[in-house]
């Protein structure tokens, strides 16, 4: 559906996207990267707002820039939180439907349908200016889906949604992907993406750092030492119990703060052994977490690979 071949995009002296090559097929794909990684630039190129400086980007075999043939098969939910604020949700969506060439009657029907899908029928006749952040996200999604596109591109769509809203939103994206569409979702939050899909594109400073199944990327990460913070009433006892484990590389005992930070080689095995120790009563703990389980650490691992 979408093919990128050595795509780069410069803004004067600054590079936004650097030599990215990949192919996106139907399903739910997450574009993961920190702020400024080039996600929005890449999505803007896919949705025909920007041209690549070098390389070739095609969507359904055609270049998307200002190309109505391509745009009628793409729905875009931008990261910007701006609307025609005086318009109502219904009028906004219906206008964009008609702008896409839909006859008035069909546009009205599709608008009703989409408002129901995104759960905004009850507030559709209110002015957008009075909408909450979550409502605005839903209206943005509705306008992206209004013309029944084959590809839906969503730039940071979960921002501002409450947990229930997120859950519903993600379920909706899955059902759209199951209909054979390509859904591209950008995010800078790893755990958010993990709940959404296993298929990832990892962007870092404009470069495509990794591509494919999240588990493959995780296993790449797991080849490197991983820090685990274990909290308990007696941190020294935790340190003593875990010191002898074969995959523990080092320990940092923080008695004052009430935890031990352990560097391990195979986190999955360590977690298994740790849970066995807890079940057998060898150690008592109140919690554990991994300071490395965030996007920054993922990038650090991959950059040093």
């Amino acid at each position: 559906m979408i093919v990128l071949e050595g795509v780069s995009r410069w803004y004067g002296q600054v590079i936004g996207v650097n030599d990215v090559s990949c192919m996106l097929k139907p399903g739910l794909v997450a574009l993961l990267g920190q702020n400024g990684a080039g996600k929005t630039t890449l999505l803007r190129m896919i949705t025909g707002q920007l041209r690549p400086t070098t390389g070739r980007l095609t969507v359904f075999g055609e270049e998307p820039f200002a190309n109505p043939n391509v745009l009628k098969r793409i729905g875009y939910c931008p990261d910007v939180d701006n609307f025609y604020e005086n318009s109502t949700g219904r009028a906004f969506i219906q206008f964009l439907a008609e702008l896409g060439g839909m006859p008035k009657k069909l546009a009205r029907e599709r608008t009703e349908e989409m408002l129901q899908v995104v759960g905004m029928s009850h507030a559709a006749d209110r002015r957008i200016a009075g909408y909450s952040k979550g409502m605005r996200q839903r209206i943005k999604l509705a306008q992206a889906m209004i013309h029944n596109p084959d590809v839906i591109v969503l730039d940071e769509p979960l921002n501002g949604l409450d947990p229930v809203g997120r859950h519903e939103y993600i379920a909706m994206l899955h059902s759209l992907a199951n209909e054979g569409r390509l859904i591209v979702v950008s995010s800078h939050i790893l755990y958010e993406v993990e709940t959404m899909t296993k298929s990832l594109l990892l962007l870092h400073r404009g470069r495509l750092l990794a591509e494919g199944d999240l588990r493959v990327i995780r296993s790449l990460i797991d080849q490197h030492p991983h820090r685990v913070r274990v909290e308990g009433p007696v941190p020294r006892a935790i340190a003593q119990a875990t010191l002898g484990l074969p995959n523990v590389l080092s320990l940092d005992l923080r008695e004052q703060e009430g935890y031990v930070e352990i560097e391990v080689t195979e986190p999955e095995m360590f977690y298994r052994e740790l849970s066995e120790m807890v079940l057998s009563g060898k150690v008592e703990l109140t919690g554990f977490s991994s300071p490395d389980n965030n996007l920054e650490s993922v990038f650090r691992y991959l950059v040093t690979t």
Partner: protein, 256 residues
């Protein structure tokens, strides 16, 4: 598709808060004509109307065209809604032309209201007894097309500076060039509007008023030249704007 673009833009441009400002300005022009009548009751209605029309009504057309033409692309970029327009399966030229025509419609209505208001006060409540009105209305329509086209082109070529350049153009160029000797006035839309309006020479000799009305120069343009020129200018400029809009990138302001 075209109808949707046009109607949406009309809805945006003709919002009460936007239009009311221009209607108040039109009313102020009428008040100037009324004050003239009060100060000089023996002055001719044609003189009052002619001077106030050149001095204010045609300027209102220029300024409102600037205001609404820059609401086309730069304002969409500023309010970051341009992204919704440019990601729809609609040719960009159609977007630009549809919104251009909506701007022309609103500018024409404002100009016509201003002309009617001035005519009403200048002719003491009998606007239809104004022999200059019909030609002025034609000039206002053509002026709306030409000015809006010029500013539409500026707004896509220099979206960040279109407003300031436009203000300099309307006040500086359009205010001064028709007063200057020589043939520079051929390049002024205002001079062409004067050629179409064909106001008679005023009997008032006040140099300041003549300067403000841009009647100090020797305008030898004729209606048969100026109408085709303004039509050509409008088509060329809006065509250029549509081409530019199709070829280049337009992102929401402050986008990375």
């Amino acid at each position: 598709m075209f109808q949707a673009i046009y109607l949406q833009a009309i809805g945006e441009y003709a919002r009460f808060r936007r239009v009311i400002v221009w209607l108040v300005i039109a009313l102020l022009a009428a008040i100037v004509a009324y004050m003239w009548l009060r100060v000089s009751p023996n002055s001719l209605g044609v003189d009052r109307y002619s001077t106030v029309s050149y001095m204010l009504v045609f300027r209102i057309v220029g300024f409102s065209a600037l205001f609404f033409a820059t609401a086309n692309v730069p304002a969409e970029m500023d309010q970051r809604t341009i992204v919704y327009l440019l990601t729809r399966p609609v040719p960009r030229w159609m977007l630009l032309v549809g919104r251009y025509l909506a701007a022309v419609t609103v500018v024409t209505v404002i100009g016509v209201v201003a002309a009617l208001a001035v005519s009403t006060t200048a002719f003491q409540g009998h606007p239809t007894s104004n022999p200059l009105l019909a030609r002025d209305l034609l000039a206002i329509v053509l002026g709306a097309f030409a000015y809006t086209a010029a500013f539409a082109l500026a707004s896509v070529m220099i979206p960040g500076r279109a407003m300031i350049v436009g203000i300099i153009y309307v006040i500086g160029w359009e205010g001064l060039v028709p007063n200057m000797p020589g043939t520079m006035y051929y390049l002024s839309i205002f001079s062409h509007l004067q050629a179409i309006a064909q106001h008679p020479l005023s009997s008032n000799t006040n140099q300041l008023l003549s300067f403000l009305a841009s009647t100090l120069g020797t305008n030898t343009l004729t209606e048969s030249v100026s109408i085709p020129v303004l039509v050509l200018v409008s088509i060329t400029m809006v065509g250029g704007a549509a081409w530019w809009f199709t070829q280049f990138e337009f992102l929401p302001r402050d986008a990375d």
